[in-house]
Symmetry: C3
Subunit: 354 residues, 3 copies
Amino acid sequence: MYVRNAWYVAGWASEFGDALKRVTVLEEHLVMYRVDADTVVALEDRCPHRLMPLSQGKRIGNDIQCGYHGMTFNCEGTCVRVPGQDNVPSSAYVTKYPVRQKNNIVFVWMGESDKADEALIFDMPEFNAPTYHVHQGDALHLQANYLNVAENLVDPAHVSFVHPTTLGNAASENVPVHVDTQGEVLVAWRWIRDSEPVGFFQKFGGFSGNVDRWHYYYLHLPSIAVIDFGSAAVEQQLAEEEREQGVRIFALHFLTPVNKHYTIDRWMHIRNAALNDEQASEQMDAMFRIAFDEDKAILEAIEQQEQLPQKRKPIRLAIDKGPTVYRRRIRDLAELEATEDLGEPVRPTFVHHE
Amino acid sequence: MYVRNAWYVAGWASEFGDALKRVTVLEEHLVMYRVDADTVVALEDRCPHRLMPLSQGKRIGNDIQCGYHGMTFNCEGTCVRVPGQDNVPSSAYVTKYPVRQKNNIVFVWMGESDKADEALIFDMPEFNAPTYHVHQGDALHLQANYLNVAENLVDPAHVSFVHPTTLGNAASENVPVHVDTQGEVLVAWRWIRDSEPVGFFQKFGGFSGNVDRWHYYYLHLPSIAVIDFGSAAVEQQLAEEEREQGVRIFALHFLTPVNKHYTIDRWMHIRNAALNDEQASEQMDAMFRIAFDEDKAILEAIEQQEQLPQKRKPIRLAIDKGPTVYRRRIRDLAELEATEDLGEPVRPTFVHHE
Amino acid sequence: MYVRNAWYVAGWASEFGDALKRVTVLEEHLVMYRVDADTVVALEDRCPHRLMPLSQGKRIGNDIQCGYHGMTFNCEGTCVRVPGQDNVPSSAYVTKYPVRQKNNIVFVWMGESDKADEALIFDMPEFNAPTYHVHQGDALHLQANYLNVAENLVDPAHVSFVHPTTLGNAASENVPVHVDTQGEVLVAWRWIRDSEPVGFFQKFGGFSGNVDRWHYYYLHLPSIAVIDFGSAAVEQQLAEEEREQGVRIFALHFLTPVNKHYTIDRWMHIRNAALNDEQASEQMDAMFRIAFDEDKAILEAIEQQEQLPQKRKPIRLAIDKGPTVYRRRIRDLAELEATEDLGEPVRPTFVHHE
């Protein structure tokens, strides 16, 4: 179940250079390559002649020559040469996918080209704010469906049990979760007031006593999550809208659904502490890796279980509000795409009444 | 094709301790753990919430806490905690399987709980007889259906060809096989009179001349085999019912059908010679390993062949009486389970008229 | 899609000795063994009793004894012994396949036995001509359907793009391809006049100036290809029928379709230069290995692509005449075999009108 009319992340900008690179998104193989500092091209990775992947061909200027019989395509996907004949049949083309590079991230549009609106590309002001430090992390490869991965990213409740040494602790086990929708985004959050700092903020916050701690999980449908988490000394008596004044970290997750059982999660972080301190960035990466590997173990185990015959239907709990709303909305969007020719892209604007 | 109303071996008693352990029987995943010296618990290894295997969770006293969101189950399978909410829905349970430990072996009942009769658990008096030595061997993992493995254990005829250096020799190649049913058990047997001792009894019997040799294959349906084999000097003129007076070894095989293509054969032996001689036990293990690896090679080759398209139906021979009766009975039992709600467990009592 | 009434190559003569060997052709498993210098036997590799592969049994004289229960078959496939009983049921046989050894190559007939005509076995006079040197090369294993492999062997156009350092160069990129049928054989060819010698003839031809170069691809349906390629100095002004006077190499490819996704290509060469020079043979092998590994990379990539869902149908180009005619003819032959009981083997005689 995929939403096609959306911008998906194909990779960090640094992953694309002169070489032809195969990238797989929503089960489609693309050949991608950089043509200038701001521009990356994505074409269908399949010669229309004998189905040879063009990514195994040869780049000639900005064109690609197929490695089998030399059919050549420009970066619009138009065939410009068929060796052994003069005419070029009109059926000799490959599909071109809209691509944009923004904030050093390469996005590709997997739906109808004419609906590829740049304004829909994910952004947030902290990418370019002087009080924040932006750091691209790594790519986590999961043998799991992206819906399960995304649900995990709008689910504050798992943190206490899955990440006890880094992002959570026992103090939050029974704290209820709030859920709402804000325009195009689903948000689930909770505050844990007056408790010991978790591992992450013991290390990076420099707190000596108890803290107020927050987790806000913003899920930009279909597949981008921003987790705003942080802590402030209890004495600050921080209001919900004053998080800026605490130690605050945004963990960003860009999910690329490769196929039904495989998802890439490219993650990065943006913080208002330890600016320009690359050692801190690396230490944070190390802590995130511990936490995300814990998620990976769970999500891959669940993937295996889901493929077994099920005697009983799974149950839903109070803590599942975020995941439940998310999955319903994805189902609605996929159904809308499959049944109507809409005048404009379906935006994930939806209202959730608790 | 499985018989569900039966006690299957989940493992030797020594395989179960404090740790949570996943065990798979008849394609069902169980989480098992020991609660005291005599008691092992088996629960469905699947949290009813997000399907997480409970075996990857955390043991808290005799309860299990799921590793994803902390739902907690006691050793009856009842949910005792749902973090984030006060009420515990009645659908929040996992199935409990009846388990019994007997003769240092852990048995699990895979069928309807109310039919789990302890009296049906496999036993034999030699487990506790002072004139016998009991030795648990090893677990043989076979990529083969359990029906083929079980047939091999009620088939004296293969021994001459498959195990020429250990359990058989050419003298038995043409000796006919007898088959009968004794209460709940199928038995196939033959005597080879006045011939050279086979490898096993050359090594352990201390015979200088020819011997009378026997093989009795008892198959306790659906999946436990006892092979009573032994030798006596020809001069003893041993009668069939006097096997006790020869050198006698029982090889026991407890088959665990993991799935359609995978069976675990836990084997052990009980003997009336070399009592308390652990070196002899190890030497016997070594010889059995040679023989059982020969069976494994054959059974795995057959498994592959059976998955190919078959142009002709296989043929049955005179030596196949045991396997043929066995397979028919299993089919009957499985059909009975699938079609009727019987008042009591189906016991494999059947009569075979040759 | 297989043509069954045909001689397929089971191996080089040197691959068959006393030992029992499993060989798989058209998804059928055969057990093969040599009975004298000129004779190799092929039987169905499946005991009719418990399906055990006979190739894992024991050779006794020219008979095979099954490794499970000792059923024994002679080299006609007739059962000559059933241990444990006196009568041998008539259904106790295995299929025998016609086999012939010719030019040190072992051929097996996979169709109806009574149509196995020796006159249809592939041959060419150069195998036994004093002016030619015959050298058996190697076996290339491809994870690819044999139809794609065969198409590659009647496709001169790919050489310029796939084998630029050995068999082709840019001079031939736009030279058109001719196609015709000659009796039972499909031929595709082209001449590239007055151009630089390709890598192969730079090394083995000793040419100092430009050459006339030819490629003739003969495809003997269903699965044997002979590529006649060579070069002559431009000054010779060689006519098409005078190729004998140039430096000429026949590359022979014997394709064995193992299953739908796996083909073995046994290749060898016959040349009119460097006679009896084994060092030259080895150097040619090395160059061929480079070229054939290039083909393998392409054919395996295509195999993967073909297994994906296809949104658009592939296109055919002017250079595809050979492959197109080949595939149609195979389809015709397979359909004829499947629908009629012909009085004589279907020979691949067909006329192609361009």
